[in-house]
């Protein structure tokens, strides 16, 4: 082992043996990663032999904070779990709360929720496409894509008054209406996206260098994604038709025809590589535009809130109790919020968030093994990871034994259940 190889990884001993495999670490801070996460690779030359994921660099204790606030305050906190899927978490949280406390949502509010959620999907997928282009050094495509994304942000600002955290959701409805005067401008925005989108998708799918970097790279088979419970475009690109909007229609999605998008529509077959993930996201942007058009045409006048008076709403929320689950198909895949509230308590008693990246983490292992260093950034980006949404724990003192096996965890949980039942 050469002198330079011994320095790889400051606190990790070099792998035994004279030559390959050696260790190569990406992260926690690395230009390819937009958030901290550590990938500990075992390499043979430029080829990945194995990979270990080390998370927990971005834990913020947001659930802990949420359990010390009333449901309306927690709703705004939920919006701030992620900077990209801010509608996702407030959507899932309000649905969980409405499920737990038996609160009905007016039909018009459901349509407005879906419009915001789908606009968010468009901007998230465009953001992803830009990042993916940047990872393969195609900055021109990044700037073009993000220019289009600015237009989507403008539309979101037009509807909600905000560009990132929309503040549209309320437990039992939405806070702002989409008035009939706003509809023509929304149609203008949608037409504008459709116009430019075709060109950008054409470059992504037909550019030779993009194809060279994405086709047959980072493959996850259908068996892999089913076994590892991947969600969202990552699972659909491998041919698994999973989409909460389709499998378990909710909100206004039940009134709209939604089919999970898989790549064979364009390519004729499912490979499960990065190119397929591009196809799925590109088609989903088009699908979202159609969904928004459908919502705007189907919306009927009516109430947008179950209870417009804040004091009365808070009182009602305090009075009720129960536990519920809210699911939403985020741009990255299914996000689940679980809440429990004891009747008479002001605060949310228990809140658990499972963001979509958590499910997609393990799908990276089959994708990365066998590929090259040059593919790592794009493969990691191809799942559209969001680590701040995912991290639930931070290890501050690594001196003792901290990593539990599955059996230990199971034993501990059985013991805790027994304790609780006494």
């Amino acid at each position: 082992m050469s002198a330079s190889e011994q320095h790889i990884g400051l606190d990790i001993a070099p792998a035994p043996g004279k030559k390959a495999p050696y260790r190569f670490q990406v992260g926690p801070i690395h230009p390819a990663l937009k958030e901290p996460m550590m990938f500990d690779f075992t390499m043979d030359g430029e080829t990945v032999v194995n990979v270990d994921l080390v998370g927990g660099h971005n834990h913020r204790g947001i659930e802990w904070m949420g359990m010390r606030r009333n449901p309306v305050q927690t709703l705004y906190l939920a919006e701030r779990i992620c900077g990209i899927c801010s509608a996702t978490h407030s959507f899932a949280f309000s649905r969980a709360m409405e499920d737990a406390l038996d609160i009905p949502v007016p039909a018009r509010a459901e349509y407005i929720r879906v419009i915001v959620a789908e606009l968010e999907r468009i901007h998230s997928h465009l953001l992803w496409a830009g990042v993916a282009a940047h990872e393969i050094g195609f900055d021109t495509l990044l700037h073009w894509t993000w220019k289009l994304r600015e237009g989507v942000m403008d539309a979101l600002e037009y509807i909600s008054g905000n560009r990132v955290n929309y503040g549209m959701f309320q437990i039992g409805g939405v806070r702002r209406d989409i008035t009939p005067e706003m509809v023509p401008k929304i149609h203008d925005y949608l037409d504008y996206y459709e116009g430019i989108l075709g060109k950008i998708i054409h470059v992504f799918l037909n550019d030779k260098t993009v194809q060279m970097r994405t086709q047959n790279i980072g493959i996850a088979t259908k068996e892999d994604v089913v076994k590892l419970a991947a969600v969202g475009p990552t699972a659909r690109a491998s041919g698994w038709k999973t989409d909460v909007r389709y499998n378990q229609p909710y909100s206004a999605y039940a009134n709209l025809d939604i089919e999970p998008i898989t790549p064979e529509a364009v390519r004729g077959e499912v490979v499960g590589d990065i190119y397929d993930r591009i196809i799925v996201r590109a088609l989903e942007i088009k699908q979202s535009i159609e969904i928004i058009r459908g919502c705007v045409s189907q919306m009927e006048p009516g109430e947008i809130l179950w209870e417009p008076k804040m004091a009365k709403l808070l009182m009602e929320l305090k009075k009720r109790g129960g536990e519920g689950v809210g699911r939403h198909e985020a741009p990255r895949g299914e996000a689940i919020h679980y809440v429990k509230k004891v009747a008479g308590d002001e605060n949310v008693t228990y809140w658990k968030v499972r963001a979509s990246t958590y499910n997609n983490l393990l799908a990276w292992v089959p994708m990365l093994i066998g590929d090259e260093i040059a593919d790592i950034p794009l493969i990691v980006a191809s799942a559209d990871p969001c680590f701040s949404c995912t991290d639930r724990v931070a290890i501050t003192n690594n001196a003792g034994k901290t990593i539990l096996t599955g059996e230990e965890l199971h034993r501990l949980s059985v013991e805790k259940t027994r304790r609780l039942m006494q």
Binding site: A3, S4, E5, H7, I8, Y22, F24, Q25, H30, P31, A32, E46, A133, H134, E135, I136, G137, F138, D139, T140, L141, H143, W144, K147, D207, K208, T209, V210, M212, R213, E372, I373, A374, D375, I376, P377
Partner: protein, 347 residues
């Protein structure tokens, strides 16, 4: 020419070449960045941004990692810049003849071209970072990759020169610059020559570590690769060397393929006067800018980064084949039927 006079010429010439090369190189980088930005729909930095960058880098701390081989790590940027400036002494700028024109030829130039890249490899290996190690390996592989088509292009031109002007040294840049090949050949030769020009344009971004051939630095993969541990003055020196290398590659392409001068067009300017030199130098800068625009700016705007295996495959198989085709076409040009001159009504 006495040896004292030669020494004096070398010292003064090197100084002028260093300052001129650095200034033109940084200006070329500024133009490249501005045009790149405009093509991406951005405003882009001001044209003098590279100068600010250098000033900033030289004002910053120069960090040497603990596990780096210190002397090698610090020597690499100096060697890189010195190697790039040495190259300038062999290349004509417009009608200004190179300082060391009579003392080296294209073959020497090919060898000297390796020095800046090799210095970067040494710097990368000595910095003790796995990213730099991988980057240095990739740089070596890239160099091996593009040498083949580059050498093919150079040999084809020299062979043609030898055929047309057997009395003059075929590999000397002064011979090549004095006789632009475009007018000397038939249709096949011109097509072959154009193919070789294209090959040189595609070799340039690899030589300069620019997208699509920037695998050794690959910001999103290797966080800068070779350069990852460099900072402050050392990084500034590499930055300057990059600018000078841009001028070198542009000037080589200009000298090989478009050595035409503008001063004969203006009858009012006497040949050999200061005015003629100025006009030719100005025209040279325009040609240089055009070459850099096509070889660097357009290419890096239009495509994604390739992987190292793809880079080598691209250079060894398709590009070498195309270069050989160019060479063969230029050799076949001796078939008299295909001479273009009679068709145009000339001799």
């Amino acid at each position: 020419m006495s040896s004292v006079e030669l020494l004096f010429r070398i010292v003064i010439g090197t100084l002028i070449a260093a300052v001129g090369g650095i200034v033109i190189g940084l200006a070329a980088k500024g133009v490249d960045r501005k045009l790149h930005a405009r093509m991406q729909g951005r405003v882009g930095p001001p044209l003098r941004q590279p100068f600010y960058d250098v000033l900033k880098l030289f004002a910053k701390d120069n960090t040497v990692p603990d596990n780096a081989v210190g002397w090698m790590f610090n020597a690499a940027p100096v060697i890189c810049l010195a190697g790039a400036i040495t190259l300038l002494l062999y290349i004509p700028f417009g009608s200004i003849l190179p300082v060391l024109g009579g003392h080296g030829d294209l073959i020497l130039l090919l060898y000297l071209l390796i020095i800046p890249g090799l210095a970067m490899v040494v710097g990368g290996f000595s910095s003790g970072s796995p990213y730099a190690t991988v980057g240095a390996q990739r740089e070596m592989v890239t160099m091996i990759g593009y040498e083949l088509p580059l050498a093919t292009a150079v040999i084809a031109i020299a062979a043609k020169m030898n055929e047309l002007f057997p009395a003059e040294p075929a590999f000397a840049l002064s011979t090549i610059a004095a006789h632009p090949l475009w007018g000397e050949m038939g249709l096949l030769g011109i097509i072959g020559f154009a193919i070789l020009a294209m090959i040189m344009v595609i070799v340039t971004p690899a030589e300069l570590s620019k997208i699509p051939f920037d695998t050794p630095e690959a910001e999103t993969e290797l966080a800068g690769g070779l350069m990852v541990e460099y900072s402050g003055r050392n990084l500034g020196l590499f930055y300057l060397a990059d600018g000078v290398k841009t001028v070198v590659m542009g000037a080589i392409i200009v000298a090989l393929f478009i050595p035409h001068n503008l001063s004969p067009v203006f009858t009012g300017i006497a040949q050999g006067s200061i005015g003629a030199y100025m006009v030719d130098f100005g025209f040279f800068l325009v040609k240089l800018a055009a070459v850099v625009f096509f070889a660097v700016t357009v290419l890096r705007t239009a495509v994604a980064r390739l992987k190292i295996a793809q880079v080598v495959t691209l250079y060894w198989i398709p590009l070498t084949m195309i270069a050989l085709l160019g060479l063969i076409l230029m050799m076949w040009d001796s078939v008299p039927m295909l001479h273009i001159a009679p068709w145009l009504g000339g001799a």
